[in-house]
């Protein structure tokens, strides 16, 4: 019964653990929900450990087992507590007696860091090991693999493998009569040169000539057992390499060792104090340590790669280095490190220019790398990274994009199909608008996309470029099936520098959607000048003007009046004076609209005509004219008019 309770308690606490992990990883730190849940869970677990003592769980792909009982079983791929551990290679999790809330918090923090981090290189095992949690222990697949070495490694075999040059002593017998051994006990100074003493030992070169006579010039004392014998290499020994002693010295970086051996201080005489670091030296070491905390793996590697690009003297090897640069560049991008990726890519580009005159083939490889960086496949990685690391700034992104040439425009345009973040999209759009002028076909193809948002982005880019070619593309959208696209088009064209947009706007002014029509007119009006006036005139003269909605007609007449100034007055007066014997509603409306339009006409001629109308014998016209005159003055000399 008690045992049953135990299993049940453990089952519950594991469920809770999954829940608390989900909540802590989902909510921000300051949210009260994770805070309280974390606390209640930790307290529960603490008392459970206190009650039952150590608990060890075997971890499988989606189960956790405690004393042969399955205490956790995952129901789905997404909600899998066992999986969190299993995926990182943890096969056993041990919760030890003496586990307190503080360490449980720490444990949850590590898991949170692991799950929430976008850094794909983090591994839970290392994070747990690096944290100082003492009462939660674990075993991994690697531990199991490593533990097999314990059995496999046989010391005796190992020692037997040693060459037999050196005699092995086995107890006392072996020692008896060994002259070499007895020499140990001859008082020092009375025996022959016995210790490897730097001052007394012959120094040999590989050629076998003693360097003794050159002692003053010699730079390094390579001690050999017998001078004159050339060094022999043992087989299969990677490291055991014989060559000139001077070079050996150079190899060890000891080539300028002062030669006077007598002046070498005898370390055995060094006082113990000399081993201890002084306070000053401690500070120096602290400085070194502090500097090291600034180590940035990305920056470090970017700088290293730059140097490595200069290290190869042979083309094949150089190509290999470039390939490595490409690999790392990709990894940086996928980790969201655009600034550091920019360092690598911009260096590839700069170096290409620099070496092209003398090493065209080498330069070609670099160019290839730069172009490949802008390939659709590579940019897909960028897009994925941008969607994960929303915090990547526009500046960073822009800087990276600036490293691409026209070849990448097509693929950069495609980024707009996959990016999720608005800031990033805007950044791409403005990049394409700035750089797409000569490659309208690349940046303009977006208008054919089936997704409206992609089409809208293309509109923004094309309207910013605004040249003839881009307008041809844009004009294709006037009849786009999606209203949002058409609306976006008329809005975007408002600020386009090209006059050619008026043709498109004119067509839009007859759109079936009123918002779009209004926006089109507004866009035309906002452009001012003669061409705009002409456009409006054309719209009004168009046969379809009569069938337009009244609010459109009013808007158009107003636009016409405003843009046309004195040139518009004549037409407006014609609308007013048109005889309306049978109280035709349409004629009446046009009269009203014409008066409304004259309110915002600033020309003197308008004023004169209004004055004339205000003295009209037709009471209807007279009244409206007086009204309009007053409103117009308000409009022109102060006060607002609607």
């Amino acid at each position: 019964m008690a045992e049953n309770n135990k299993i049940q308690d453990i089952t519950f606490i594991l469920k809770d653990l999954l829940k608390v992990i989900k909540v802590v990883t989902l909510y921000p730190e300051d949210n009260p929900l994770p805070t309280s849940l974390r606390r209640s869970f930790s307290e529960k677990l603490e008392s459970l450990v206190e009650e039952y003592g150590e608990m060890s769980f075997s971890i499988a792909e989606d189960t956790m087992t405690y004393e042969k009982e399955i205490v956790y079983e995952s129901k789905s791929k997404e909600d899998n507590l066992a999986g969190i551990f299993y995926d990182t290679g943890i096969t056993q999790l041990i919760i030890c007696d003496g586990l307190f809330v503080d360490e449980i918090y720490q444990f949850l923090d590590v898991i949170k860091q692991y799950i929430n981090s976008n850094d794909k290189s983090l591994d839970l095992v290392s994070l747990l090991w690096e944290s100082t949690i003492s009462q939660i222990k674990f075993k991994t697949l690697e531990d199991i693999a490593l533990s097999q070495y314990d059995d496999g490694f046989n010391l005796q075999d190992f020692m037997a493998k040693q060459n037999t040059d050196i005699e092995h002593f086995e107890g006392q017998q072996a020692v008896d009569g060994s002259a070499d051994y007895e020499k140990i006990f001859i008082p020092h100074g009375t025996e022959n040169v016995e210790e490897t003493n730097l001052t007394d030992t012959n120094v040999a070169t590989a050629e076998g000539t003693s360097l003794n006579q050159n002692r003053n010039n010699s730079i390094f004392y390579a001690v050999v057992p017998e001078s004159g014998k050339s060094m022999r290499m043992a087989e299969n020994e990677i490291d055991e390499v014989a060559f000139k002693t001077a070079e050996a010295a150079a190899a060890m970086g000891l080539d300028d060792l002062p030669q006077a051996a007598n002046s070498v201080p005898d370390t055995t005489m060094i006082l113990n104090e000399s081993f201890a670091l002084s306070e000053e030296e401690e500070i120096k070491i602290q400085d070194l340590l502090r500097a090291d905390t600034e180590f940035d793996p990305y920056l470090s590697t970017a700088l290293l790669l730059k140097e490595m690009l200069h290290q190869e003297d042979e083309m094949g090897m150089f190509y290999e280095t470039v390939t490595i640069c490409e690999k790392i560049l990709q990894e940086f991008i996928s980790h969201g490190k655009l600034a550091e990726a920019s360092i690598i890519l911009s260096y590839i580009i700069a170096l290409e220019k620099k070496i092209r005159p003398k090493q065209p083939l080498w330069a070609e490889r670099l160019k290839d790398a730069a172009i490949t960086a802008g390939s659709s496949e590579r940019l897909l990685v960028l897009s994925d990274a941008l969607n994960i690391y929303k915090e990547i700034s526009s500046l960073e992104l822009k800087k990276y994009l600036s490293l691409f040439s026209w070849e990448a425009l097509n693929n950069i345009t495609d980024l707009l199909n996959t990016l999720e973040n608005e800031t990033h999209k805007e950044c791409i759009v403005s990049y394409l608008a700035e750089n797409g002028k000569n490659n309208i076909d690349f940046v303009g193809k977006g208008i054919f996309h089936k997704r409206s948002d992609v089409v809208c982005n293309a509109i923004t880019i094309l309207s910013k470029i605004g040249d003839k070619k881009s307008l041809i593309y844009l004009s294709k959208l006037v009849e786009h099936r999606d209203e949002t696209v058409r609306l976006a088009l008329v809005k975007a064209l408002k600020d386009s520098p090209s006059e050619g947009v008026l043709t498109i706007l004119k067509r839009a002014a007859f759109d079936s959607n009123q918002d779009i029509r209004n926006q089109a007119i507004e866009s035309i009006v906002s452009r001012e000048g003669k061409p705009a006036f002409e456009t409006i005139t054309e719209v009004i003269n168009d046969n379809s003007f009569i069938v337009n909605d009244q609010s459109d007609q009013l808007a158009l007449l107003k636009a016409y009046s405003k843009l046309g100034g004195e040139y518009a007055v004549e037409y407006l007066t014609r609308l007013i004076t048109k005889v309306n014997l049978f109280k035709n509603a349409q004629i009446q409306f046009f009269r009203f609209a014409a008066f409304e339009a004259m309110i915002i006409n600033k020309s003197d001629r308008c004023e004169q005509e209004l004055l004339k109308f205000s003295r009209s014998i037709r009471p209807d016209i007279k009244k409206q004219a007086q009204n309009a005159l007053q409103k117009r003055r308000e409009y022109m000399y102060g006060g607002e008019t609607s």
């Binding site: 003492s134 020994e237 490291d239």
Partner: protein, 481 residues
């Protein structure tokens, strides 16, 4: 109550009973710091503690708990804890160190109530306002005569407190860790040769275990690193460089994350050699200039291998720098020559550079036929100070190696031959040794001595012995359990 010192010789490895006692001790101590006397948890834990205390008291009349240089002893037996240690013990030990407390003793008359009062009392201590004397007086005033506090042992006294048995266990464990690391290096080499994937997780785990070992007992691993005549020296060399580097790293107080990166970098520092043509490596003749140019490519090849064959992360970034820079001196001599910009080498590269030179020169295997004695290497390296190596790091390394480096053979005034097992922090001339032979020959079972202790006053080191000159193989002594 009298204040006794913790500097008594210790005997053996503790059993489960002592382990449980120690664990319960710290759990209760920590609980007392967090809650009040009548808290349920506290009462529970105190019950547990008392239940672990009494059986030992019954057996020995009292329970003495001592902390000596981070190791715990219960009734003179060393209590072993795997790696991660005890819950909350760190902060308690830090406080004890500040107060000068080296341990505590409970005698068999202690009641549960007294034990509880003791923990509550200890938990409320204000470290700045107290010292061992004042605390002892207060304990007395509080009617806690059944509990005594020990004073802290002075630095360097720990060596002698590790008994032969305890040492043996640590050495066995060190050996297993060391050889695991060597096996992993071998796997890395094989993988690199065939351009197949290198098991990074396994490498990291092996670094973790090296580190766990070093933080417990650095001498045993250094002793193994001092064996230079392994057949598979290539693998041993990388392992040695990792051991020495990590020892420096631990002394520098690097955090665990950085230590893990340092050990990882060290294991990979010479990986570029694997990529050199086999006939160059196996060339029986002396190297000509061209060969040498090839050889000098190994740092670059190493960096390339690491960056190409492994997933990029902080470990590989560190390792690539380490491989590339480990032959570049502080004054930018060495190789490769930096062609773009003279960027200062990283801390890790500086560390690896020092220990790599040391290991290569002492082994005599890398570039020279004959090995050079560690102290001579250190002498040489000291010459290079300021120019070649970082002088401060070198000094730190010196301190680790000492006058009689761990793993070297020495002759004593008593005409005995001894193997140096660990350095004495305060007096480098008096290490902890194991006597392996005398005029009559090699001993079947060696005897362990602390040359710093009073009773061994007659045993002094005469000089170092080069084992090879006398037909001895140092490996036999080091690997012997």
């Amino acid at each position: 109550m009298s204040v006794t010192t913790a500097q008594d010789a210790l005997r053996s490895i503790a059993g489960k009973e002592e382990e449980r006692f120690l664990s319960a001790f710290f759990v209760l101590y920590k609980t007392a710091r967090l809650v009040d006397k009548d808290n349920k948890t506290f009462l529970n834990q105190s019950e547990k503690f008392y239940n672990t205390l009494m059986p030992i008291c019954d057996k020995f009349g009292s329970v003495n708990l001592k902390n000596i240089s981070g190791r715990f002893f219960v009734n003179e037996s060393i209590v072993r804890f795997d790696g991660s240690g005890l819950s909350g013990a760190d902060s308690i030990i830090t406080e004890w160190n500040e107060l000068g407390i080296g341990g505590v003793s409970f005698n068999e008359e202690i009641s549960k109530d007294e034990a509880e009062r003791f923990f509550i009392f200890m938990a409320k201590i204000k470290p700045n306002a107290e010292n061992l004397e004042s605390l002892s007086l207060k304990l007395k005033a509080n009617n806690l005569a059944a509990v005594q506090l020990f004073s802290k042992a002075a630095d360097g006294e720990d060596a002698e407190l590790l008994t032969e048995e305890a040492r043996r266990q640590l050495r066995t464990q060190a050996r297993s860790t060391f050889f695991k690391a060597m096996e992993v290096v071998q796997e890395i080499v094989v993988s690199t040769k065939s351009d197949s994937e290198i098991n990074i997780s396994k490498t990291k785990r092996v670094v973790h275990s090296l580190l766990d070992q070093i933080s417990q007992d650095e001498s045993s691993l250094i002793e193994l690193a001092s064996i230079k005549n392994f057949d598979d020296y290539t693998f041993a060399h990388s392992t040695n460089v990792a051991v020495y580097s990590l020892t420096i790293g631990v002394r520098l107080g690097l955090d665990r994350a950085r230590l893990s990166q340092l050990g990882f970098s060290a294991l990979f520092h010479d990986i570029g050699k694997v990529k050199l043509p086999t006939d160059l490596i196996n060339k029986p003749d002396a190297y000509d200039e061209n060969d040498w140019i090839q050889m000098q490519r190994h740092p670059l090849l190493g960096a390339k291998t690491i960056l190409r064959n492994m997933k990029f992360d902080v470990h590989t970034a560190r390792a690539a720098r380490g491989a590339f820079e480990h032959h570049i001196n502080n004054d930018f001599t060495g190789y490769p020559m930096l062609r773009l910009e003279k960027v200062e080498t990283t801390l890790f590269s500086k560390i690896i550079s020092i220990v790599d030179s040391f290991d290569a020169l002492t082994s005599g295997r890398v570039y020279l036929k004959k090995s050079i004695e560690p102290e001579d290497v250190i002498k040489k390296m000291q010459y290079q100070m300021k120019i070649k190596f970082d002088e401060f790091l070198l000094k730190l390394f010196n301190d680790i190696i000492g006058v009689y480096p761990v793993g070297s053979l020495v002759l004593l005034t008593t005409d005995e031959i001894a193997l140096v097992l660990s350095n004495n922090k305060t007096d480098k001339s008096k290490p902890f040794v194991k006597i392996v032979g005398d005029k009559n020959g090699i001993h079947q079972s060696p005897i362990w001595f602390d040359l710093a202790s009073e009773e061994n006053n007659d045993r002094k080191i005469v000089r170092k012995i080069d084992p090879e000159n006398h037909g001895l193989d140092i490996k036999d002594f080091i690997l012997e359990v």
